[in-house]
Symmetry: C2
Subunit: 101 residues, 2 copies
């Protein structure tokens, strides 16, 4: 599983609305996408206007080709883009290993 990590700074004062729109966008646009595995929204402890999106994809191409080159991506950005305070930083990460307590 490939993990997409997207760091997003949003406009101050829009937290509640942003979180609600992300929930809607995940359900309607992201969750039905081919290769979608998991989604987690987290809020910055040190940086109150920052969020991180952790998105699991079966393969890299499920995101970079299947999702990004589809109408789903246009709709996704239509929904959440208006909250961006700057360009998101998006990178992909392959698993080396994991450990639980």
């Amino acid at each position: 599983m490939i993990l997409e990590i997207a760091l997003i700074d949003i406009l101050p004062g829009t937290h509640a609305e942003f979180e609600a729109v992300v929930a809607t966008a995940v359900e309607t646009v992201l969750r039905p996408a081919a290769g979608f595995v998991s989604f987690e929204l987290r809020h910055g402890v040190e940086h109150s206007d920052s969020y991180v999106l952790l998105i699991g994809w079966a393969t890299l191409e499920d995101h970079t080709v299947g999702f990004r080159e589809s109408e789903r991506f246009v709709k996704w950005r239509e929904l959440i883009g208006p909250f961006f305070a700057g360009a998101p930083r998006v990178d992909h990460w392959s698993k080396v290993f994991e450990v639980a307590r």
Copy 2:
């Protein structure tokens, strides 16, 4: 659960050794720490010399106080610090919501 995300750039050509040392450091130093929940090491797809450490802690203070102010942190940095190509970027993130397929 609080998620620590640490972005680390390492010295080129040290990937295999770095990954082995991280595995040792997790088992001997991190896993026994109070409040440790989970650890995941991932390797950059776009940036070959970058890694991300995703570390789950029961509370923020389990990391920032309990771990960082202990001898464990000294040992942790002794083990993995020599591979760093620069200062890691470390931030903490609180969960808003998550979704699985």
